[in-house]
């Protein structure tokens, strides 16, 4: 160390500042987050365990209870590793309502049609339905048939009515 006294180890211009902690930056429900843990962690566990946004549910592969919007597309959070989400915009069921607490028209339609059984798969239906309505404001029955959500309480008929109600400006 003594030898180095007065003599920079490296030219000043080459000193690299302490790097900011590496991480994956993404936007969730309008807020920016940086994930510094395992990049292979699926988004579902990041939402539920790290951020404690528990509206998105675990139901297993193909259950649809874990659907979220990533850049507007409904995808299962269980199948999205954090590494694939850098710079992406994620919306979960908690992000559907307005900042003032006003419900999204589809949320309101679910309430109006009482399209709820146990309620566990409801966030999945809402995300899938919002994506469909964004894509196709007047969806056909065949469009609605394709929603990738499983429900054991048998809410399908009411979910269908709710989507049609939302498409119809809130009227049944």
């Amino acid at each position: 160390m003594a030898q180095a006294q007065g003599v920079p180890a490296e030219p000043a211009g080459r000193i690299v500042p302490e790097p900011v902690r590496a991480g994956i930056e993404l936007e969730i429900n309008g807020e920016r987050y940086r994930h510094t843990g395992d990049p292979s962690m699926p988004l579902l566990w990041y939402l539920r365990d790290v951020l404690r946004l528990t509206g998105t549910k675990y139901g297993g592969d193909h259950s649809g209870a874990d659907l979220v919007l990533v850049d507007g597309k409904a995808v299962p959070a269980l199948a999205q590793p954090m590494a694939a989400l850098a710079g992406r915009r994620v919306v979960t069921v908690e992000g559907l309502a307005g900042a003032d607490g006003s419900l999204h028209p589809l949320q309101q339609a679910f309430v109006d049609e009482d399209a709820i059984g146990c309620g566990y798969c409801t966030p999945g239906w809402l995300i899938a339905g919002v994506e469909l309505l964004n894509r196709k404001p007047r969806p056909s029955d065949e469009d609605i048939d394709q929603l990738p959500v499983l429900c054991r309480c048998g809410c399908h008929a009411r979910v269908r009515r709710a989507i049609k109600r939302a498409a119809n400006g809130g009227k049944a």
Binding site: W45, S63, C118, C153
Partner: protein, 752 residues
């Protein structure tokens, strides 16, 4: 009914600390004749009050519900029953689950709220019997307080929507009266409940009380709860309940960042099924779910099968069919009316058919999970259970804590269907928390959930009937073979049939000679209660067979059914059970009329099918219209009529009826559990494919019979038994294929 009266007597009035009126049940130390406890000691924690009704000074009304809400609408219905008696403003009512109520009575548990069980069809009838009084008492106290303030006798005051109104128009809000009402001495006798003409909420439609919290993602199910310092546990169960772990290598697991511990679990052979671990298991405990799952993937486990390793569902089915064909096989005589053998000698026509129903999993949307924190003198759990008292029993046995030291919260449950009447997963979580010395949040993956269930047993049914020259069914012989869902649960052998068949099921009482036998099968695959048992499988066999009878007699199946039911009358079935043929005829005619049976049955290119059934005091019928386009089966219409007596919430009832219809249709179309060499073969929704939107009818047309003169019946699974046979009967009309084995699609495609 004596239990109801004693519970009423124990309704108690308490004062909350902020001027609240609380009507509930007494605290552990209190007795019915105690003075209310000083408000300062009570705090504002409604949970510790055992409250059913709490009215705050600002007029907010909190109603606590005792039975777990599994999505059957019970919590909303019960809250509406109480709120109606109270004349509350529903907009000011919040509904919250009370959790388990348990007190210490000389070291034994005393259940604060009486029986607590959800999703079993009991919630609304039980509340009708006792909880109206909680609302009525609160209203009575508010009236007394208002009488003093207004200087008007209480009997001249009326209440409406959260207000007491004097004859001169003066009004007082409930909130302003709450503090004074809490000081009024309760009446010595129960307060009369409302006359039906005064109902303001009962019979009126209401959405689920939790709807807003659910659609905004704010409602926290058990699996959404967290404890500080918790570890997340995931499991790898042995494929065989009686298997053993021959070798284990945890090195790679423990090397995963965040994994803390690996723990082995074993069933306790002395314990009944459902109260101990289902199968040997290895648990990975980690700081978060992802670490636990990665650790589980890296486990190297060598499981060895036990005696059940030789079991195959196909073999079991063959055994069942052989038992039914062997008239000398040992059987339990479930019912025996008249003389079926003698009646057989008068046969003009005889028909026989057999039906086979598959094993089924529960596939609850929210997989098994349990959150537990153990302290020296307390266990705190958040459990998605249908039966918190049973969960308590498991915790008590494993911890040795005193009754009141075990606190069990039961948030809204992500589906029950009978799976959560068992508590193997609670035993696992408690054992893991003990091993870890930290709070544990146990989460089953879907694969574990499907492959380690307490399954609905498959069954085989053989029915033969004798018809006389006038086309009357004069003899009916029914044999059922299954492995009882009550086995290994401490139920005596001579009662094992009760989960599989009921003695008063249709057409008992309608046929002069009727015999029902049950033959026991043995299996080590765990079995348990499931939504609609023992009606689902039997209704499929019986209601399919009635359709076959009609076809054999070359007549309209509606006519066959009408002749079988006969004149409207009360048929005593024994054990206090009564079949009201008028109510059954009514629901049958309602669905037939709605679907245009008389015009369409013969002429439609689509197939129409009917079925009807009775569960307790409730009646149901389905009419289904099915179309076949190549191999593509489409359910065009589904009509369901129900008679449940008084309807508390028509919106909730319609949702339950439509939901049960769709669940039953989807199950009948697609689902079955199979096992080979003792291993369950279904591990994901890929091989246990719940029906999606495209397979199901777009709408369920629900017809509700007004039933103001009868008390309400449970309705959550009422619409299940008839959906599948009505579908099979419709499929027969459209395809000429008689499906006698479920799941239907596989069988139909095999036979087309």
């Amino acid at each position: 009914m004596s239990a109801d009266l004693s519970r009423r007597r124990f309704l108690k009035v308490l004062a909350g600390s902020a001027g609240a009126l609380v009507v509930g049940l007494p605290l552990a130390e209190a007795r019915a004749d105690d003075a209310p406890l000083p408000p300062g000691l009570l705090g504002d924690d409604y949970r510790s009050l055992g409250a059913f009704v709490r009215i705050d000074a600002d007029g907010a009304v909190l109603i606590g519900t005792r039975d777990p809400e599994t999505g059957t609408g019970g919590a909303t219905a019960v809250a509406r029953i109480i709120a109606d008696e109270l004349d509350a403003d529903w907009q000011r009512v919040a509904v919250l689950p009370l959790g388990l109520g348990v007190q210490n009575r000389d070291g034994q548990p005393a259940w604060t709220y009486g029986h607590q069980r959800g999703g079993a069809g009991e919630t609304v009838p039980a509340a009708w019997a006792d909880l109206r009084q909680a609302g009525a008492l609160a209203r009575w106290l508010l009236l007394q307080a208002a009488a003093r303030q207004l200087g008007v006798p209480a009997d001249q005051l009326r209440t409406q929507s959260g207000l007491v109104i004097a004859p001169d128009g003066r009004r007082l809000g409930y909130g302003a009266l709450a503090a004074a009402a809490a000081k009024v001495a309760p009446p010595p006798a129960p307060v009369p409940v409302k006359q039906p003409e005064r109902y303001a909420l009962i019979g009126q439609p209401a959405g689920d009380a939790d709807a807003r919290a659910i659609v905004t993602g704010q409602l926290r199910f058990a699996s959404d709860h967290r404890f500080a310092e918790e570890l997340v546990a995931v499991l790898s169960h042995c494929p065989w309940p009686d298997g053993t772990l021959a070798a284990i290598d945890t090195a790679a697991t423990l090397a995963v960042k965040g994994v803390v511990k690996v723990v082995q679990l074993r069933p306790e052979p002395s314990q009944p099924l459902g109260q101990t671990v289902l199968a040997p298991a290895v648990a990975v405990l980690a700081e978060d779910t992802w670490a636990a799952l990665q650790g589980r993937d890296k486990l190297k486990l060598d499981w060895k099968p036990g005696p059940s390793g030789g079991e195959n569902s196909a073999d079991l089915e063959q055994q069942a069919v052989a038992l039914l064909d062997d008239k000398t096989a040992a059987a339990v005589r479930v019912r025996n009316d008249g003389d079926v053998d003698a009646a057989g000698k008068k046969a003009a026509r005889r028909l026989e058919a057999s039906y086979v129903l598959p094993w089924l999993a529960h596939a609850t949307p929210e997989p098994m999970n349990c959150l537990v924190r153990l302290e020296k003198d307390r266990a705190t759990l958040v459990v998605p259970t249908q039966a918190p008292q049973q969960a308590w029993t498991v915790v008590r046995r494993l911890t040795g804590l005193a009754p009141e030291q075990i606190r069990i919260q039961v948030p809204r449950v992500g589906g029950g269907y009978g799976r959560r009447l068992d508590h193997d997963y609670v035993a696992e979580a408690v054992l893991l928390a003990q091993a870890a010395g930290r709070p544990v949040r146990l989460l089953w993956t879907r694969g574990e959930d499907l492959a380690h269930d307490v399954y609905r047993p498959g069954s085989a049914h053989k029915i033969s009937a004798v018809v006389d020259r006038k086309r009357n069914v004069i003899a009916w012989t029914q044999r059922t073979a299954s492995a009882s869902a009550l086995a290994r649960r401490g139920v005596p052998d001579d009662r094992l049939w009760t989960s599989e068949v009921a003695a008063d099921q249709l057409p008992a009482g309608l046929v002069p000679s009727y015999r029902s036998d049950w033959c026991a099968l043995q299996s080590a695959i765990p079995r348990g209660a499931q939504r609609g048992m023992p009606h689902l499988s039997n209704a499929f066999a019986v209601e399919s067979f009635v359709d076959e009878l009609a076809h054999a007699m070359k007549e309209d199946p509606l006519d066959t059914r009408l002749r079988l039911l006969g004149e409207p009358r009360q048929v005593a079935l024994g054990d206090g059970h009564v079949l009201d043929t008028g109510r059954l005829l009514n629901v049958l005619r309602l669905v037939a009329d709605r679907i245009g049976w008389k015009q369409n049955w013969l002429h439609s290119v689509n197939g129409l099918g009917l079925a009807c059934w009775r569960i307790g005091d409730a009646y149901v019928a389905h009419a289904i219209e099915a179309a076949l386009d190549g191999n593509n089966l489409r359910i065009r219409r589904a009509v369901c009529a129900v008679d449940v007596g008084r309807v508390i919430n028509p919106t909730g009832l319609e949702g339950q009826v439509a939901g049960a219809t769709l669940d039953a249709l989807g199950t009948a179309l697609n689902l079955g559990v199979t096992f080979k060499d003792g291993r369950i073969q279904q591990h994901s929704y890929r091989d246990y494919p719940l029906a999606g939107m495209a397979q199901l009818p777009r709408e369920v047309e629900v017809i509700v019979v007004p039933g103001e003169n009868l008390p309400p019946s449970g309705a959550s699974f009422l619409a299940m038994p008839t959906a599948a046979p009505a579908l099979a009967n419709a499929v027969f009309r459209v395809s000429a294929v008689r499906v006698r084995r479920l799941p239907l699609m596989r069988e139909l495609l095999r036979m087309l």
